[in-house]
Subunit: 387 residues, 2 copies
Amino acid sequence: MRPSERLAAYEAKPERLLIGLMSGTSADAVTAAAVRVRGGMPEVGVAYIGHRQHPLPADMAGVVRSPEHVSSADLTRLNVALGEVFAQAALALLHDLGLCREAVDAVASHGQTLVHLPAKNATLQVGEPSVIAERTGILTVAEFRYRDMAAGGQGAPLVPLADYALFRSDSVNRAVQNLGGIANVTWLPAGGSLADVIAFDTGPGNMAIDGVVQLGSQFHFSMDQDGRFGASGPVNEKALGWLLEHEYFRRSPPKTVGREEFGDEYAGMLLTLLKGHGKRYRDIVPTVTALTAASIAHAYRTHLPAMPDEVIVGGGGTQNPTLMRMLRERLPECTIRTHEDFGIPDVAKEALAFCLLANETLLGRPGNVPSATGAKRAVVLGKVVFP
Amino acid sequence: MRPSERLAAYEAKPERLLIGLMSGTSADAVTAAAVRVRGGMPEVGVAYIGHRQHPLPADMAGVVRSPEHVSSADLTRLNVALGEVFAQAALALLHDLGLCREAVDAVASHGQTLVHLPAKNATLQVGEPSVIAERTGILTVAEFRYRDMAAGGQGAPLVPLADYALFRSDSVNRAVQNLGGIANVTWLPAGGSLADVIAFDTGPGNMAIDGVVQLGSQFHFSMDQDGRFGASGPVNEKALGWLLEHEYFRRSPPKTVGREEFGDEYAGMLLTLLKGHGKRYRDIVPTVTALTAASIAHAYRTHLPAMPDEVIVGGGGTQNPTLMRMLRERLPECTIRTHEDFGIPDVAKEALAFCLLANETLLGRPGNVPSATGAKRAVVLGKVVFP
């Protein structure tokens, strides 16, 4: 099939089946999600089908978590090796769901962000889409962030379009709060248009918590399971106040942040400070957990035009009851809801969001929200690889 | 315009205007070439319009020449910065030719190869195509090598398709010999089909000569201008014989080679050996020049089914009269011709070749020649970025 015919066939379908592939900053697994999409923005219809968490081999996860030490040759291999993992994740999901690959209209691969330098309008996404297209035989759209940055944007966040499609309301102000490695919010004012959307990274999500637990336990623990360390002692309000003085929290949106600011280096700094106080690493987990909750509440009060009536939380942080309790305590005026309340499994949400972005790309429409990324204009995102 | 419409309009045109962008392993400049293309393979028509050599900033060229020392953050910035240079090169060429960007149907960007690991089926191409598409507003096809490697190929050489289109003959055996940083040959037997084409890297082109001159002169000279050092003394036949014992020359095609084998490390090794003999760096340039010529002649006699009647030489090495004399001496049975004899400026040839590859991609046809790259199958190359 010629590329023009393939894209015309895509457009002509009333309903399309897409597979979204996503690996977040925490690099713990690749999420593959299948979704049916009807039409396009703004009246796009989305029906979730199923998803799969596909393990990321430990050696690759290690490189992804410490990209500053990777050589260009290792990076070259990692890009291809991750492409293979993404392809396997897509094919395994199809197998799980009993779907044949011919039924899939497109794969939307976010890939893995390895380096993100918004101030330089530069990013590095790995997980080679040519490998995904070759292994799956499916039309592939990938590497979404580069184009927004070429248009002067910060390359993130890119979920606002999907948040708008899935969660906007005519009657209540909503904030969609993702608690991934990095935490980010999408503000959806009641009855607002896409131009009214505000979105930015609020700061660390699980990244600083995970970093302190991992480094502190010498990698005996990978995370604060069930928020137990976080609930094991008091929050040091003085330390918290000092941590909230980080320059990032004051800066006005659009803004984006990454492992560079709140990654292992940041966690290492916190642990070094602790040592000087004669404390164990666990003693700071309540305070670092409170930092995520407090920086979110601070961001709403400082950078949103009004407080949300409803906060729809998502991301791995929702599995941390301590973090969720702290968030409720610091946002007493908001109703906290989940993605599941809207029929979307939380873990599949970002993969699903990139399906909506790929759908817009294949229809020739922009996917970035300039008010969220700071781009000079709305642009068609991503690169298309034909099977 | 929707992507399907844009591609249908591309297909429907009897003649298309493409801009090719290429930066070779020597990283001395970006070549932009404009070409009109009629139809597609195998009966594709090509009319060269014009080209431009666009300077590559010295700091970028330095990183490209020593990618092993680049950090992942520097690489992230380099990819975007090179994308800007490629875009500028395209726009400057349009200005030179008095063409408006709306007249251009597609940009074909080879980009810059930073790392090439054929044994690992991995390559790293930089010069972000999203930046090119955003700055030029033109449909962009780029990053051709990944897909061939995903299909099990070595990702190189990719010029054979263009060589076949441009130079095949019903009556004589031809070899198209590129003398770039790396030297590579395309074998076009008289009356042969695309399946009869053999192509592989013969070994170092100018890379080892340049490396010895640059390192030896402590970068006072960037190359052996007019082959003067190469002609300044005798070839050490004993040393040449030893250099020709390199494992690469014996290996059967398909095979590909890069800076990893014949780059600065190799030049440094030669210079270290020289020191032990109390010689100056210039003393080895005749022998290193002869290595390029002799390895080509050796490759023809060893790895081609017959000797070519005509050798069509191209690449920067054609500007080195010493290298050309040595090549004639070692191939006395062949007529040496140039690309200019066929109406194609030598320096524009590879950029032009990638226009033909992009044309095939946009028509949904394969661009690799499996007998040349070793790929398991012919695949549609590259990634498409919509303006």
